[in-house]
């Protein structure tokens, strides 16, 4: 973390939303509630309180919040949608100190996970960090990173990342050791209680993906009805996952998990496997004739697929299940005889991998849990040092992300699972 060198000398500050977004779908009450929770995310850690108070003669709130466009009489003009999102002024005695400005031309949203806007709560937490005296941090998991990182989750349960907690406590000391939920109840509330939709978004840093595939140079990471995309440059398209069904047009709604996926080199079609079936896409659109059964690729009836990939060395498709694999010849469109064979052909590879994919330089990658194994192009021996951690190398996650306490059970044998999703109405 980095400190600006300035901080407030009092532990109670006043705030006020002076202007609201002009064309956002968020109501004024939701905006106020988000500000309230964003401020208290910091207050919780240091025992500071924030009270909503209208400006009046002789008393102006320290933190005045505005949604402004373009040049708005400070040194940081806004630039329309994208680019700069917001800024705040560090603590001090100047009238503008502590004030926080959001670009009114952004599409401000809350809880939207489909990339349709910018999450106001996440940006507000970041900006209030500045308003309280923190500068930008380079720590990968810090809310004070200068780059927008997507929604920050449920505001009433939000807790600052470790780096930011240490930073703010360096300035103001530690607050009483209360859980955020409890403290929220003790703090003065905005005039109207907030109503927030609850949307559960999986954590990409915890690994355990259902499927991973290299599709036209981009690596897709599937988890439940969500997926992330990693560009060839190594940058995530967004830290927020996209919804499976909004992207893959025609994929039936009941398919909520993709077990394996790959791009067929012969014709560029993309195959998504779920259960004992697979769906064939041309670009994002489902092709007629889907779904097909995995028996067409040589697997026994009712069998499922853990991983699938096309090996550039021979152009054949490998389908992995548990500790065995089948081989399919794309050229003659029939399974090769003599399979399944043992997966130990790939020396060092894990059994029942989450998926296998080929990198843009021809390496083969086996993924399982939070780890990956690299095989040099054409090699079937894992590179020394394998397995490596996926999070920092692929998904912009901190190197220190702890592994989950217990690995998810192997995909085989598969047992019927219940898939739950909470919709916006909370039902």
């Amino acid at each position: 973390y980095a400190l600006t060198g300035s901080f407030w000398k009092k532990k109670k500050l006043f705030w006020w939303v002076q202007s609201f977004p002009q064309s956002s779908a968020l109501s004024q009450d939701t905006v106020r509630s988000l500000m309230y929770y964003a401020l208290n995310a910091w207050g919780t850690e240091v025992g500071m309180t924030f009270e909503e108070a209208e400006p009046r003669a002789g008393m102006e709130p320290e933190l005045l919040i505005d949604f402004a466009r373009a040049y708005h009489k400070d040194s940081y003009p806004f630039d329309g949608p994208g680019g700069t999102l917001a800024h705040a002024f560090f603590p001090g005695d100047h009238p503008i100190s502590g004030d926080t400005h959001f670009d009114d031309e952004e599409v401000w949203t809350f809880g939207a996970s489909d990339g349709s806007g910018t999450d106001l709560f996440a940006v507000a937490v970041h900006e209030f960090g500045h308003a309280l005296g923190l500068a930008h941090s380079s720590a990968p998991d810090s809310i004070m990173r200068p780059f927008y990182q997507g929604p920050a989750g449920d505001p009433s349960k939000y807790q600052l990342p470790h780096d930011d907690r240490e930073g703010i406590q360096q300035l103001y000391g530690k607050g009483p050791n209360l859980s955020p939920g409890l403290l929220i109840h003790l703090l003065p509330h905005p005039l109207l209680p907030p109503v927030f939709p609850t949307i559960l978004i999986p954590d990409r840093c915890s690994g355990h993906f259902d499927a991973i595939a290299n599709i036209r140079g981009e690596v897709f990471f599937f988890k439940g009805p969500w997926f992330w995309r990693l560009q060839p440059s190594g940058q995530l398209v967004s830290s927020r996952p996209a919804k499976l069904h909004r992207f893959w047009e025609g994929l039936p709604e009941h398919v909520v998990t993709v077990n394996a996926a790959y791009s067929r080199p012969s014709d560029g079609r993309i195959l998504l496997f779920s259960g004992d079936q697979f769906w064939v896409f041309q670009d994002r659109k489902l092709e007629a004739g889907s779904p097909k059964l995995v028996t067409e690729l040589g697997l026994p009836p009712k069998e499922t697929v853990d991983a699938v990939f096309s090996w550039p060395q021979n152009g054949k498709t490998y389908l992995i299940r548990g500790e065995h694999y089948w081989r399919y010849d794309e050229a003659v469109q029939s399974p090769d005889p003599g399979y399944p064979k043992s997966l130990n052909l790939w020396e060092g590879a894990p059994s029942a991998p989450d998926d296998v994919t080929i990198g843009n330089k021809g390496d083969t990658f086996f993924f399982k849990g939070t780890q990956y194994w690299r095989f040099a192009p054409g090699s079937v021996v894992a590179e020394p040092g394998s397995p490596f951690h996926m999070g920092p190398d692929w998904l912009d996650c901190p190197a220190s992300a702890p592994d989950p306490p217990a690995p998810r059970p192997s995909k085989s044998p598969r047992v019927p699972e219940c898939h739950c999703e909470i919709n916006q109405a909370g039902s």
Binding site: L3, S138, P140, F147, Q235, D396
Partner: protein
């Protein structure tokens, strides 16, 4: 690797200046940026953003510069910034 376009270089220098990696231009004189100074600024930016430190305006660096972000600089004036090492 492809050379970045002149427009990308220009936008990048503007970006690096705006966010504190390059000093602001002197108001009274035209100021040329030396290649070394620019490379060092890019390296600091890459380190800050968690990118590979190449000192070049590569694809990952340009893509990061195009990300939505906070308007405040990453590198504040020396006097106003206290960094602490854990």
């Amino acid at each position: 690797a492809l050379e970045p376009s002149a427009q990308d270089v220009s936008l990048s220098v503007d970006w690096l200046t705006r966010y504190g990696y390059l000093p602001p231009p002197h108001p009274a004189q035209a100021q040329l940026q030396s290649p070394e100074q620019l490379r060092d600024a890019i390296k600091i930016m890459q380190r800050f953003a968690g990118l590979k430190e190449t000192g070049l305006m590569d694809e990952a660096t340009l893509s990061t510069m195009k990300k939505p972000r906070c308007s405040l600089p990453d590198v504040l004036g020396v006097a106003g910034l206290v960094r602490r090492r854990r």
